[in-house]
Amino acid sequence: MEIKHEKIKTNLQKILPAKASGDKWDLHLYIAGQNPKAVTAFNNLKLICEEHLKGKYHIEVIDLLKNPQIAHDDHILAVPTLVRKLPLPERNIIGDLSNKERVLAGLGLVDHSELKLV
């Protein structure tokens, strides 16, 4: 499966104007080429967002191979890296996002304490 950059953008255009900034989830997914790990990560993220943040999220997929400078600018080491740009503060999650609970915790959708109970 291929990730369509444009698809996400259109998605974003649909959601953005409707939501207030406080309620906006701005997520960046850094990948290095469209390898299986990147695809898995995107799919996992998409599923989680659809489930928990439906209608108020925006995912930007950034391919570092296409734009290497961003790795430097945004301090990216590991890929895939998911960065929660908004709401602040920034949060980083690395990996292919296959552990859903961890992603939820990382994004702050679930408390760490809650996570442990689960």
Partner: protein, 580 residues
């Protein structure tokens, strides 16, 4: 295929020169080119500096741009830190000779979910390398990643991949790592970086810190295996190999005066060899510094440059003292031909002493280096260290073709102190100044213990400090033994009186002989005249006898004729027969 591969084994491993003083000598040319090298050591032992110097030297001297990936310090911090060592990183960065990349890692803020890789890091390193066309890369300290990134298994796999990737790129890489307990690095990086491992150490001994470097491993190359002391100062890193130079220095035939005419005479009339090493040893107050000063003055008069290390007196005190024996060094200092360097022996560690000395020598470029006294180096108890250090200094001076003059303080009880004996093999000309105690007096005696490559006097000379410099006098050697000072003087007067007496005796004898000769000659005259008289008498008799004989013969003939004999008388010979 096999045939093709074989010659490559014989090829020397290509190396990337570090230009770090001394390191290239012990590694046989530098770090392995195109391979990663691990630099490990404890906190504050100079890993970052080592790596930075490698990059800066590469960029400035070998036109090999470099990338510095810092996991700990920001670009600004790095630039400021190494500026104190004279590295202008801003300038190098501006001219695209060096690329600084700070990889910011925040601790405890990263959540992991599922598998990841370090492709982001790869991309950044790649970008940095491409930006400047780097041939050298530094990763300082990549171990920080372990503290930040979860899942060590993935991290290790990724690091292994990173080093292989760098190797494929053909960049010479330095990886720094903290020294771990019982292992070279905390995270066992030596497992991945196995081409060359250099260990830096920083320890404190006798309250002075000593930095040491050791090459633990250098695959495919021979290397020095010792621990080498190294220093970090305003000129960067310098490693001090014990004898990196070997004994291949050329030697000069030129001779230079000692400044003391009679000492020159003792050294086959010409003085020391240029670029040889002299040692004057003696007990306290025997005039070692004076000999050194006289030598310094003589050199300055020839227009040579002299660097004078004094570990015992301040320059002004030394000059004042020398003035009392008529050696004025002040003008030479003003002219810039003579430079003093005075430090307290205890101020620095041995290595520091040595490197400071070497630096000053390089800076001042003297012809002659004087060290007064080498005991100044004996800070610690460790004799071997002192010896190797002196060995290094002498080697360095030899290599530089400099004339070295050391003084050494020996204890009163022994003739030669231990350090003297230890370094004697390094010394070309060794003078010994000794106290000679005779007749309630203390005098100085000087002799040449050894002097390589020249005929030298075996005599002990009395050594005197006068108000016009050093004088050497013959000691009195006679039936009374070796005498100096007033004992020598009194003995000499005694000798003079004895000699006068003998001379008078000889005069009398000669006079008597003359008279005898005269008498003899008079007698000869008398004898001769007597003989002459006798001779005249004898001659007269002979003449008469001859005449008589003649007459007799004639008478016989006449008689024969008158008797008319028929037998004629032919000769006197037959006539005689006939009669018989």
């Amino acid at each position: 295929m096999k045939k093709k591969e074989r010659p490559s084994h014989r090829n020397i491993l290509p190396k990337s020169p570090t230009s770090i003083q001394g390191l290239d000598e012990i590694t046989g040319g530098g770090l392995p080119k195109g391979r990663p090298t691990l630099i490990c050591g404890g906190a504050g032992c100079g890993k970052t500096l080592f790596a930075m110097e490698f990059l800066v030297r590469g960029a400035t001297l070998y036109n090999e741009p470099g990338v510095f990936i810092s996991f700990e310090e920001t670009e600004k911090e790095l630039t400021a830190n190494v500026a104190s060592l004279g590295f202008d990183l801003d300038n190098l960065v501006e001219h695209k000779k060096i690329w600084l990349e700070h990889i910011h890692v925040e601790r405890g803020e990263i959540e992991q979910s599922g598998e990841y890789d370090l492709e982001g890091l790869f991309i950044r390193i790649h970008l940095a390398i491409e930006s400047v066309g780097a041939k050298r890369v530094v990763l300082d300290t990549i171990e920080s990643l372990f503290a930040v990134l979860p899942n060590q298994l993935i991290l290790r796999t990724e690091l292994r991949r990173l080093f292989q990737w760098l190797k494929r790129k053909g960049v010479t890489t330095i990886v720094t790592a903290e020294r771990g307990e019982g292992a070279f690095t905390r995270q066992g990086l030596e497992e991945y970086v196995s081409d060359c491992v250099i260990l830096l150490d920083h320890r404190v001994n006798d309250q002075s810190s000593i930095r040491r470097l050791r090459i633990v491993k250098y695959r495919g190359s021979t290397h020095g295996t010792n621990e080498y002391p190294f220093l970090i100062d305003e000129d960067g890193f310098s490693v001090l190999p014990v004898t990196s130079l070997g004994l291949n220095y050329s030697s000069s035939h030129e001779r230079i005066s000692t400044g003391i005419p009679r000492l020159d005479t003792m050294l086959s009339g010409k003085g020391y060899f240029r670029s040889s090493t002299m040692l004057v040893s003696g007990t306290a107050g025997t005039g070692k510094t004076s000999i050194a000063s006289q030598f310094a003055e003589a050199a300055c008069k020839r227009g040579e440059r002299v660097l004078f290390f004094t570990f015992e007196e301040s320059p002004s005190q030394l000059m004042r003292n020398m003035l009392s024996i008529g050696i004025d060094l002040q003008p030479w200092v003003k002219k810039g031909l003579l430079q003093f360097h005075a430090t307290r022996p205890t101020l620095y560690g041995l290595e520091n002493h040595l490197t400071t000395s070497i630096k000053l020598i390089n800076k001042f470029e003297p012809n002659i280096v004087i060290v007064d006294t080498i005991n100044g180096f004996m800070v610690g108890e460790n004799q071997t260290e002192v010896k190797t250090m002196l060995l290094r200094l002498v080697d360095f001076l030899k290599m530089k073709q400099l004339t070295a003059f050391f003084t050494s303080l020996t204890s009163e009880t022994e003739n030669l102190s231990i350090p003297d004996v230890d370094i004697s093999s390094l010394i070309d000309t060794w003078l010994l100044v000794r106290d000679l105690e005779i007749g309630g007096e203390r005098n100085r005696g000087l002799y040449v213990l050894k002097s390589r490559g020249m005929a030298h006097s075996n005599q002990i000379r009395e050594f005197r400090l006068t108000n016009h410099g050093i004088e050497l006098l013959d000691v009195y050697v006679g039936s009374e033994g070796v005498l100096t000072g007033s004992a020598r003087l009194s003995q000499e007067t005694k000798d003079d009186a004895e000699q006068l007496l003998r001379q008078q005796e000889i005069g009398t004898k000669q006079f008597g002989l003359e008279r005898k000769r005269d008498a003899m000659e008079a007698q000869i005259v008398v004898l001769r005249s007597e003989f002459q008289a006798e001779e005249a008498e004898a001659l007269k008799v002979i003449t008469i006898e001859k005449a008589r004989n003649e007459r007799f013969t004639q008478d016989k003939i006449k008689m024969g004729k008158s008797r008319r004999g028929d037998v004629s008388i032919k000769t006197t010979g037959t006539k005689k027969k006939k009669y018989i």
